[in-house]
């Protein structure tokens, strides 16, 4: 046991160097990962901004004059169900009906 401890003590300077080297490597990788994430976030934001431009703008909201109106108490209502902005198919397709005359007609109006 004693011998082992001595052996361990003698080996410490090399271990510290390796540990410090390892820390530097991990630190460098972490910084690179963070920088990459920021760059990807910026890239995705730019793409989203280009694809959905016109949907909203808060930065420019203070520009220009403004008109206002009485605002009712309607809560903001969620948009219809979406999948990446695509139109959404029904849970089940329609089925043919052979019953009595339907009470409602879907047609042009």
């Amino acid at each position: 046991m004693q011998r082992a401890m001595s052996s361990s003590t003698r080996a410490r300077p090399g271990g510290v160097r390796r540990r410090e080297n390892g820390r530097r490597v991990v630190s460098g990788l972490t910084r690179a990962a963070i920088a990459g994430s920021i760059a990807l976030t910026a890239a995705f934001s730019a793409v989203a901004g280009a694809v959905f431009s016109g949907h909203s703008s808060t930065a420019a909201a203070s520009a220009g004059s403004e008109q206002s109106s009485t605002t009712s108490s309607h809560p903001a209502v969620a948009l219809p169900p979406t999948t990446d902005g695509r139109l959404v198919a029904p849970a089940q397709p329609p089925i043919a009906s052979t019953g009595s005359a339907p009470p409602v007609t879907s047609g042009g109006s």
């Binding site: 206002s68 605002t71 198919a89 397709p93 019953g99």
Partner: protein, 305 residues
Amino acid sequence: MPELASTSFGALGTTAVVLADPERLVRALQEVERELADIDRTCSRFRADSDLSRLNGSAGSWVTVDPLLMTALQVALRAAAATGGAVDPTVGAAVIAAGYDRDFDEVARVGPAIGDPKPAPGWHLVELDPDRFRVRVPSGVELDLGATAKALAADRSAGRAARATGCGVLVSLGGDVSTAGDPPPGGWTIGIADDHAALGEPGQSIAIVSGGLATSSTTVRRWTRGGVPMHHIVDPRTGLPACQAWRTVSVAAASCVDANTASTASFVLGERAPEWLSSLGLPARLVRPDGRIVRVAGWPHREAA
């Protein structure tokens, strides 16, 4: 489950029909009427006092609008994005230039030739500030939410009535159908026709269990200018009535808004519509001007005899 009861009344320039449990129909009707009144007050381009009219006259200024109009604008812009601009709310000036410049009952059915058509300037020009309920449209851009606001009204009023009554409710606004709550056994039965008001017209009966169904047709809301037939579905790219690859298009979707968006876009897409609808899995029935029918994405085949 007892038989369904229905009631109908005029709203938003068309006929509204509400179906529900007979015991709860009156309550459902009250909720639907309130919702439709709110939509008309905020989204009508035929009312000078609507939020939409005020926005259209704002000459490029930021305008604070009712949250309901903000929702309707978000829905309209989403429809534009989802259809690649085939359904575009900035088509207002084009519709007016084509002669549809007032409530359709007051539009002269015959008139002189129109001037140069006005293609839609593009939905990307509309700026929304949803957090502060503010909107800006460039000067000269006229918004027309007709393609999506009526369907939104159907979705909202059906949901509102179902929540208030605790039963299944169907709302039809001129053939734009939305359902909410539990369906009756066998689903909601709906007739399909060129004209929602036509009685006894040969067509098809189908049933849906949820979501919405919309039919767009160029056989209704027609007029002539300079001898040229016009209809209400305008191609945003040209500012003129869409070409007539189809006479009537019916689409089923998860909501009436999505169904109406797809049925309207199909006229602008023309021959590409069936492939586009199939790619989205939207069951649809497309009728050519000569009556031939194309069905896609699981739309049932059986037609009336």
